[in-house]
């Protein structure tokens, strides 16, 4: 591979916002050789997406190139005529975006959408186009490509849409595929399938891939070379295996240390009365009714039973649609169960009972999206203080002190109390959401994907904070997540869900080291397992062998 001349060669590229003079990229150089997979890793704001967009001159017009050249297949993109550039986009350079829900035109049939590129860039008869499209849809794993042609994007799940997107791009057999966080919005198993498909498909066509991601584990598994970016600069680049095994730059080390890692298991006392006991929980969602037809209700939870001990962190994992979020929301009292019992400290909770108030005040929730879980018109201080509204044992003065204390506990200085959510970063907002949940010292906290919306390093910080608070205040926690790496770090016990039922349950180490159920294994295999090396780096390995036995440091 080394002797090939680069397909894409970026030399000394700098970008800045024309009006303000803010530098977005500072003198970056990297190349991509034909058929190679290069990963660009960095946090949000590092300029990685902007670098990729500049390659096909798709950067916003306010952002201007100040120095440097970008040459693709030996031609300089900067001096290219607009028409040549258009011929290049799609035909020679394809792009897959992050958000599968919005990257396909929602009002256009799949067949038409796939045909668009072929019409534009290839001279083919409609019969040939049709044949190519059907072949490609079959290749990306659609069961019935003929029917899919006439379907609309909303008929497909996120993973399927991303496959279709991939098909649309690969139909033209581009020389370079730019994938901007292609699987961030998908759950672990689907993510793995889509990435494997992308790698296979590009290998078959000798297409090079520029993979932009904040997920180091994914990049470690799939890329040949990696470029690490921070604040508009490339801090380090090189062969993926070597770079990750022995990172040179402190920033790379910081990124690697932010990866979730297992901490030694703690002993949780088994108390005679569980904090929360769920017995045979069933939740049906009413189906959308049409004029004549009364649809079948959709069963989201089908007889789920679990218990959480005082002071225990129980993680619920599963793919999207497994019912894990519904479970959390039902226990929180946001959804009425169709059947089953929820016991809190041994007493059943009922919406009308007087005990319910006690439960309501003792069960708090941290939501996934820090951008929508805080009322945009309230200050941070009043947002956190609102949770104390029903507390009768505290005077107003004590409430204010408690709010200040909790803000301090979550690492926010006192001046944050008077700010509004939109003035805060995602990580800070999630700290506020956690503060709001723990300010009343609840006995039980439900955390629904509390860190999935955050960046790698911020995620590590927030997770650490959450674990510290849990240890300090000793609340029980139901931690809902699709991110197994995070669960591995925080959970005492793990519950694996699929299609509304619990498929496996056990202590964390047992689940991660020797999973018994097939679905659990599939989930675990979907995420690359990284094992630490002596030089502060990481290496890919296996959690368990084919028979489900634990490995030693990633070696079977």
């Amino acid at each position: 591979m080394q002797e090939k001349s680069p397909l894409l060669d970026v030399r000394g590229l700098s970008l800045e916002v024309a009006r303000t003079g803010i530098k977005i990229l500072k003198n970056i150089s990297f190349d991509v050789k034909a058929g190679e997979i290069v990963g660009i890793v960095g946090e949000s704001g590092s300029g990685k997406s902007m670098a990729a967009r500049a390659i096909i001159a798709l950067n916003p017009s306010a952002v201007q190139r100040t120095t440097g050249t970008i040459s693709f297949e030996g031609r300089d993109i900067g001096t290219m005529h607009k028409r040549d550039l258009q011929a290049l986009r799609g035909a020679r350079v394809g792009m897959v975006f992050q958000e599968p829900m919005t990257s396909l035109n929602p009002s256009m049939r799949i067949g038409r959408q796939l045909e668009e590129g072929l019409r534009l860039h290839r001279r083919l008869t409609s019969r040939e186009r049709h044949r190519l499209i059907v072949e490609m849809l079959a290749r990306v794993g659609l069961n019935d490509p003929q029917t899919a042609l006439a379907a609309m994007p909303h008929h497909f799940s996120g993973g399927m849409r991303q496959r279709i997107m991939l098909a649309a791009v690969m139909l033209l057999k581009p020389a370079l595929l730019i994938a901007d966080e292609p699987t961030t919005a998908l759950d672990a198993v689907v993510q793995r399938d889509v990435l494997e498909l992308m790698v296979d498909l590009t290998r078959e066509n000798n297409t090079a891939v520029l993979m932009i991601s904040h997920d180091l584990a994914m990049v470690a598994k799939y890329s040949d070379r990696v470029v690490v970016m921070s604040q508009g600069e490339i801090v380090e680049q090189g062969d993926t295996r070597n770079l990750l095994r022995a990172p040179q730059h402190p920033y790379t080390r910081k990124l690697l240390s932010a990866l979730p890692h297992r901490v030694p298991a703690r002993a949780v006392e088994v108390s005679p009365i569980a904090r929360i006991n769920v017995d045979g929980l069933v939740v049906d969602f009413a189906a959308r009714r049409s004029l004549l037809r009364k649809g079948q209700p959709k069963r989201a939870l089908n007889g789920v039973s679990l218990s959480v001990m005082p002071g225990e962190v129980v993680a619920v994992v599963g793919g999207s649609g497994s019912g894990k979020t519904t479970l959390g929301r039902t226990i929180a009292g946001l959804i009425k169960p169709t059947d089953g019992k929820i016991l809190f400290n041994g007493k059943p909770i009922q919406i009308s009972a007087t005990d319910y108030v006690d439960y309501r005040l003792n069960c708090q929730m941290v939501f996934q999206d820090p951008y929508s879980s805080l009322d945009p018109r309230m200050t941070i201080g009043s947002l956190v203080g609102e949770a104390l509204r029903h507390s009768t044992e505290l005077t107003n003065k004590e409430k204010n002190m408690r709010v200040a204390d909790v803000l301090d506990e979550v690492g926010l200085s006192p001046e944050f109390a008077s700010r509004f959510p939109h003035q805060l970063s995602g990580g800070q907002r999630q700290r506020v959401a956690i503060a709001r949940a723990v300010v009343r010292r609840p006995q039980f906290v439900i955390a629904d994907e509390p860190v999935s919306a955050l960046d790698v390093t911020v995620r590590a910080q927030v997770l650490k904070l959450f674990a510290e608070l849990q240890r300090k205040h000793g609340f029980s926690c139901l931690f809902i997540s699709h991110d197994l790496a995070v669960v591995e770090q925080i959970a005492d016990r793990v519950i694996v869900m699929n299609h509304g039922v619990i498929v496996e349950e056990g202590r964390r180490d047992a689940i991660f080291d020797s999973p018994q159920h097939e679905y659990t294994r599939k989930l675990l295999q979907a995420i690359p397992a990284l094992f630490g090396t002596e030089n502060g780096g990481v290496e890919l390995g296996w959690r368990f062998d084919d028979a489900g036995r634990k490995t030693v440091n990633g070696r079977p």
Binding site: R329, G333, L334, R360, C363, Q364, S373, L374, P376, E386
Partner: protein, 270 residues
């Protein structure tokens, strides 16, 4: 006062003039707006009567000032009525959904299908043409629009996690609606209220023009325009000045409404 666009300035100046005129008209006018003077019938603008006199020799400027006060109060009270009623219905139906929502919205859509002025005409026929009748009729006629907009806003708000967070905190529905939903509806409501102020002003003038507004001799811009119509060939100022007042006020309110919308848009906030 940074980044004040010229449109905002013009809008504020026009609306400011209207407000000043309305307050002045309520307190003092150069002549008695109802005082007849048959010696000075249909006199053109002069030093004594800046905007001339009408067919009964009444001073047009005084009548315009007095009319501004009437028109302003009618518009203001109408908008307050429509916004209050519409917001209440919109928040309740949007928050609770269910069959009440379906019935209310069907009824609301039926009302929306009527042009506002037609609805007001019908209602005026029932309640009688006077100041309060107009406020009631126009207020009811514009309520469905407010309901639509508020309900749509509530529907998108209730899907946001902070509403659920409020429930998890143990807050009552009433508290959640008042503390979390209502403040988040203020921005679109302010914009709606400003433009509605303009519509109502126009509708009130139109009703008065049709003879269903505030009964003469009390002046409003609408009935002044209407009574000036037969004399348009002899005394063009009778129709021009009230018409000009209506147009300029509408222009001012629309400009100010645009400025407010930009100001209240969360994406424009720092």
């Amino acid at each position: 006062m940074r980044n004040l666009a010229p449109n905002t300035l013009i809008g504020s100046a026009l609306v400011g003039t209207l407000l000043a005129g309305a307050f002045m008209g309520a307190v003092w006018t150069p002549y008695d707006p109802l005082g007849l003077n048959f010696k000075l019938k249909l006199a053109g603008p002069s030093a004594a009567h800046w905007l001339g006199t009408d067919e009964f020799g009444r001073d047009v400027l005084s009548r315009l000032l007095a009319g501004a006060a009437t028109s302003f109060w009618i518009s203001l009270l109408t908008v307050v009525l429509a916004v209050a009623a519409g917001t209440l219905i919109g928040i309740l139906t949007g928050y609770f959904r269910g069959w009440v929502d379906r019935i209310v919205m069907t009824f609301n859509d039926a009302l929306l299908a009527f042009p506002g002025i037609l609805l007001a005409l019908g209602l005026l026929a029932v309640v009688g043409a006077n100041k309060y009748g107009i406020i009631l009729a126009l207020g009811l006629a514009y309520t469905p629009t407010v309901v639509r907009i508020v309900r749509g806003n509530v529907l998108s708000l209730r899907e946001r996690e902070f509403i659920e967070a409020s429930r998890v905190m143990g807050n009552s529905n009433a508290y959640t609606m008042f503390r979390h939903i209502l403040p988040n509806c203020i921005a679109p409501l302010t914009v709606l209220a400003t433009s509605m102020f303009g519509w109502v002003l126009l509708a009130e003038s139109a009703l008065s023009f049709l003879g269903l507004g505030v009964p003469p001799p009390a002046p409003t811009w609408g009935n002044m325009l209407a009574s000036g119509r037969p004399f348009i060939s002899q005394a063009v100022w009778l129709a021009i000045f009230p018409g000009l007042c209506i147009s300029l006020t509408l222009l001012g309110i629309n400009l100010l409404g645009d400025a407010l919308r930009d100001k209240l848009d969360p994406r424009m906030r720092g």
